[in-house]
Symmetry: C2
Subunit: 207 residues, 2 copies
Amino acid sequence: MENKQISDRVIERLPKYYRYLKDLCNSQIQRVSSKTISKALNITASQVRQDLSHFGGFGQTGIGYDTEYLKNVMQEILGINKPHVAIVIGGGRIGQALISYKGFADENVFVKAVFDIETEHLKSVTGVEVYNVSSLEEYLSKNHVDIAIISVQKEFAEKLAKRVVDAGVKSIWNFAPIDLNFDGGVVCENINMSESLMRLIYKAHQS
Amino acid sequence: MENKQISDRVIERLPKYYRYLKDLCNSQIQRVSSKTISKALNITASQVRQDLSHFGGFGQTGIGYDTEYLKNVMQEILGINKPHVAIVIGGGRIGQALISYKGFADENVFVKAVFDIETEHLKSVTGVEVYNVSSLEEYLSKNHVDIAIISVQKEFAEKLAKRVVDAGVKSIWNFAPIDLNFDGGVVCENINMSESLMRLIYKAHQS
DNA sequence: TAGATTGTTAATCGATTAACAATC
DNA sequence: TAGATTGTTAATCGATTAACAATC
């Protein structure tokens, strides 16, 4: 949709703007300046204005930004104004935590089903359909799915991700400790807890 | 204790080098070149050599790197050659998933205890001690803890993080969807699933 | 020896910061 | 009007890439 290429650095900050604007709206604050945003997010005011200007001019010279309006703009830029359907692959502890994760509502994401090689232990899980992973392709042929959440052990992650991609899913949210990458318009975000933990320990030893 | 300042970009890649070297060692491969590493990690060979050279010269001109040796070097650089003690604050689903997360062993991290405002539901959790969060300070005064893992709702995250920092913990691993930052030698890594999900949706709409 | 590959220095590229005219 | 603040252009800074002498 937008076709200007936005750098990863900017993309990383977009959700932070949104999060802060949501807070401001909840606090009934109606205006905000780039300077105020910059202090809250620990970046420079120049950067805030530069970042936003990639998408348009949303402020008023001399006045600042309307929080409600800018929040809605950010929602649209991020694409979270429209609902997205997700499935969870892997019903282990992390998978189960994700199924019951309240935060999805904020992003307009709905988890519809969970798949595992063994479904007995998922009987008590509520709010989602439970399937054996063998019926993955059949399910995907009958149901539109925007996002596949991969929460299996790393040995199985790549293969399962390929299966959902082959079945037409365009977005992969991967929690296994390997980097997944696809081409052909398939996007992927890796949450690699193991790497994060290593960086934490590294930083602890520096300071 | 290295005192040269290493950029965040480099720090982000360090765990990836380690992860790849571990794989090579497991596959009994004894030598590797910066070119091979670069292909596996989708970066340039120049960058690999540049990154490593911040810490020393670990290769042999004309030959490459010894995988076993470089793996051990990376372990030391990251600081994961020595064990670290962790506690989990918040025994909800994410907290429980973390307690049973096998990956910790790879990083030499041991979760010793979990704290919650209500401990009844944690009776069946094995392998860690269970405490009411009211005894947090007492516990920390008697036990050395390297890392506090924050897995509570965002409303409570900041306050609890402050409590453990005041009690002397130097590393915070935060899973609540807010950015925590401290000074005075306290380091923090934020795993913000909500932001990651938003970036995924953003990227899906670009391509 | 010829080919491969390191570690490092220099060149390039891109992101951040600063500056400022426009204007509320 | 004076002060505040935007959006944008230019300057700076830092990270990535390229080049190459050293050498196995």
